[in-house]
Symmetry: C2
Subunit: 139 residues, 2 copies
């Protein structure tokens, strides 16, 4: 909370109660929530909060580089309050998304026919797998 105020004050980002609630929910959150996850959570404290506010806020944070949009799930977007370069793994059973903190860039050289056409600027790896609790269910 202190940290949040310090971080955003005087940067043209108004700290409204709804935004503070969203920032608190996101801070340190490694669950990669969807817009609906955020909405549902904030609604507990602010029953009149709207989806527009959630989307506006995540967009503002994305524009400031404070949050990433994750595409690993074909069904919907997930958001990640950790903007540092890292990768993800999704359980194909339950959809749970985990972090993969390892820098693979060194190993990701591209074939010449690709670099001829594209100036590469970044990469992101989607891993797929089965999480522990899903494995228990099936066995």
């Amino acid at each position: 909370m202190e940290r949040i105020v310090r971080k955003y004050r005087g940067k043209g980002f108004k700290l409204t109660p709804q935004r503070i609630a969203i920032l608190k929910f996101l801070e340190g959150n490694t669950n990669h929530p969807t817009a609906e996850d955020i909405y549902t959570e904030i609604k507990k404290k602010y029953p009149t909060v709207s989806f527009a506010t959630v989307y506006n806020t995540v967009q503002a944070l994305r524009d400031r580089g404070e949050l990433l949009e994750i595409t690993i799930d074909p069904e919907r977007k997930h958001f990640d309050p950790n903007p540092s370069a890292h990768h993800h793994i999704m359980c194909t059973g339950c959809g749970k998304i985990g972090d993969v903190f390892f820098d693979y860039s060194m190993s990701l050289g591209l074939p010449e026919e690709v670099t001829r056409e594209f100036a590469v600027t970044g990469n992101h790896i989607d891993f797929y797998g089965i999480c522990t609790s899903c494995r228990e269910k099936t066995s």
Copy 2:
């Protein structure tokens, strides 16, 4: 066409004219079309074709492992008639998607804290970059 008929006949996949047109459009297509791209193309020859048919057909093909769904573009799904394991690169200027045929699996070992939680089954790399024609425009 011959090849197509041979491939699907007697496999419980009815070869209707619309499906044949979709299969022809997809065969060897490396453009990673969206559902709308497919629909627009098929509509030229079959003006009454419906989106439902396009979606039904790509689903049927996906279920048979003949086609992949690509998630690199946060806006919409793209389809890939090449089901072999490969990766993609998208131009952040125009959205063009290219193929990356290189097997990186050897270099993609996962940290122990991830393998403890997930039994890994696959991976897919999204690369980002700027394509030639987008670079020309900006310069």
